[in-house]
Amino acid sequence: MVGSELISAEEAAALVGSGSTVMVGGFGLVGTPLTILEALVASPGVRDLTTISNNVGEPGKGLGKLLLAGKIRRVIGSYFTSNPDVLERYGRGELEVRLVPQGTLAEAIRAGGAGIGGFYTRTGVGSELAEGREVREIDGQLYLFEKPLRADIALIRAHRADALGNLTYYKTARNFNPEMATAADVVVAEVDEIVGAGELDPEHIVTPHLYVDYLVRAEITLRSGPEPLLDRTGGG
C-alpha cells in the first residue's frame, strides 16, 4: 500500500490476535499508545498475549490495565517492580516474566529489526541473569550472547506523522518506539498529528515511512493531564 492507512483505535486493536506477541512502546506511560491500549482492553476476544515493553505500564494504566483485564500471559521487559499487579499475578503463577536489562532489551529489539542474528554485550556478565547463558571471551573481555527480539505487531507512540507514515517523536516519549517500529510484522503508530506528505523535513524524520503500516490518532494522552487520563483509563 502507498502510505500508511489511518484507522481507528478499535481497528488497530482488532489487528492484535490472541496468543500473539505485541511490542508496546513507552517508559512507564510516557511514549505509550494509550488510545490503542484502551481499545485493546475493550476487545473481547483477545487474550494470552506476550508483551515486549520496558514496563507493564503503571498499576491499572496503559499496559497495566491490559494486565488487569487478564489478557497478558507473558511479559518481556526490564522493570516491573513499579507495578505490584505484576508481582501478584506472577506469584499466583498466572504470568510468566522474562527480565532483560534495559539496554539489552533495546539492543535486542534493534537487532530484530536490523537482520542481526545475535550480539554480544558486557551487560549482565557476572550477574544472576547470566546464569545458564552463553558467555564468550572476546579480546580479553567476557560478553553475554543475546538473540534478537521480534513481534507479530508493534503498537508505538509518535508525535507527528505525514500521510506516508514518516514519524517524528516528542522529547522523552521517543524511548523504545523507533526500534519497535522496525521489529514487528505489523506496525501501528498512535500520533498526535498527521500532516501532508512533504511537510516533515527529510532531515528530521526519525522513523522512515517504510516501517509504518497504520496510523491512529491519539485521543487519550498524558498531555491532557493526569486527571483526565485517570478518568479515561479508570473507565471502560
Binding site: F27, V30, S78, P101, Q102, G124, K171, V206
Partner: protein, 224 residues
C-alpha cells in the same frame, strides 16, 4: 519526596568528584540529589537512559511536561544544548563508554568493589532497569550510599549476600562517613569525613580495606 540531610551530605561528597564537561548518569534515590550539589563553575551534562542528554532541573510550578521525564520517572526540564535519542542509542552511549560517570545507589558493596543493587534474595526479582548496563559501560562508576542500612548493618561487606549486578567493580565508593577508591586488589580508604572517625569506619566496614598513604599518615599522627 524530601531527602534527609544525610542523603544530601552523601550527594555533596559525590559531587566534589565531578569535573567540568563530565557526562553524568544519576541513579534513583541519593544519586539523583547529586545534581543539586554540583560545585559552582563545574558544568556537567546529565544523561538519562530513557533517551536524553542535557536533563535540566525539576520544572517550576505550571511548567511540568508529562512527556519529559528522567529514568526515575520524575519530571525534568531541558538544559541548553540538550538532545533526545531512542533507547537503543541511549544504551549504545552507555555501553560504549561515552558516559563519564554513573552514580549508583547500592544494597551492598563487596571487598573488590563489586556491587549488588538490583535484587533481594528470597523475593521475586521483577526489575533490573538500566543498572547492569550502567555498571558495565560507564567510564567511571561511583557508588553513593549510606554507610549502614536503615537497620544499622554495614553495606560494605566481605561478600555480597545480595546478587551481584555484574563483575565490574565500582571505581569509587562514597558514604557519609568515608570515601574508598577501588584498585585490582580491592578497597582503599581515601578519606574519612570531617565529622567521622577512622575507628568508626573500621568498625562499620565489614570488608577488609587498605588505607591510602595520606590517611595512614594522618592516623599515625592521631596515634591510631
Amino acid at each position: 519526596m524530601s531527602a534527609s540531610p544525610v542523603a544530601h551530605e552523601i550527594a555533596r561528597r559525590v559531587a566534589r568528584h565531578l569535573r567540568p564537561g563530565d557526562v553524568v548518569n544519576l541513579g534513583i534515590g541519593i544519586p539523583t540529589l547529586v545534581a543539586d550539589h554540583v560545585p559552582g563553575g563545574v558544568r556537567v551534562f546529565l544523561q538519562t537512559e530513557n533517551g536524553m542528554l542535557g536533563a535540566g532541573p525539576t520544572p517550576g510550578p505550571g511548567r511540568l511536561d508529562p512527556e519529559l521525564i528522567n529514568a526515575g520517572k520524575l519530571p525534568i526540564t531541558e538544559d541548553v544544548g540538550a538532545s533526545y535519542f531512542s533507547s537503543s542509542e541511549s544504551f549504545a552511549m552507555i555501553r560504549g563508554g561515552h558516559v563519564s560517570v554513573a552514580v549508583l545507589g547500592v544494597l551492598q558493596v563487596d571487598r573488590l568493589g563489586r556491587i549488588a543493587n538490583w535484587a533481594i534474595p528470597g523475593r521475586p526479582v521483577l526489575g533490573v532497569g538500566g543498572a547492569m548496563d550502567l555498571l558495565a559501560g560507564a567510564k567511571t562508576v561511583v557508588v553513593a550510599t549510606t554507610h549502614l542500612t536503615k537497620r544499622g548493618e554495614p553495606k560494605i561487606v566481605e561478600e555480597c549476600s545480595f546478587p551481584l549486578t555484574g563483575d565490574r567493580p565500582a571505581d569509587l565508593v562514597v558514604t557519609e562517613h568515608a570515601t574508598f577508591s577501588v584498585d585490582e586488589e580491592g578497597l582503599v580508604l581515601e578519606e574519612v569525613a570531617p565529622d567521622s572517625a577512622f575507628e568508626w569506619v573500621r568498625a562499620n566496614t565489614l570488608a577488609p580495606f587498605r588505607v591510602s598513604a595520606e590517611i595512614g599518615a594522618e592516623s599515625a599522627r592521631e596515634g591510631l
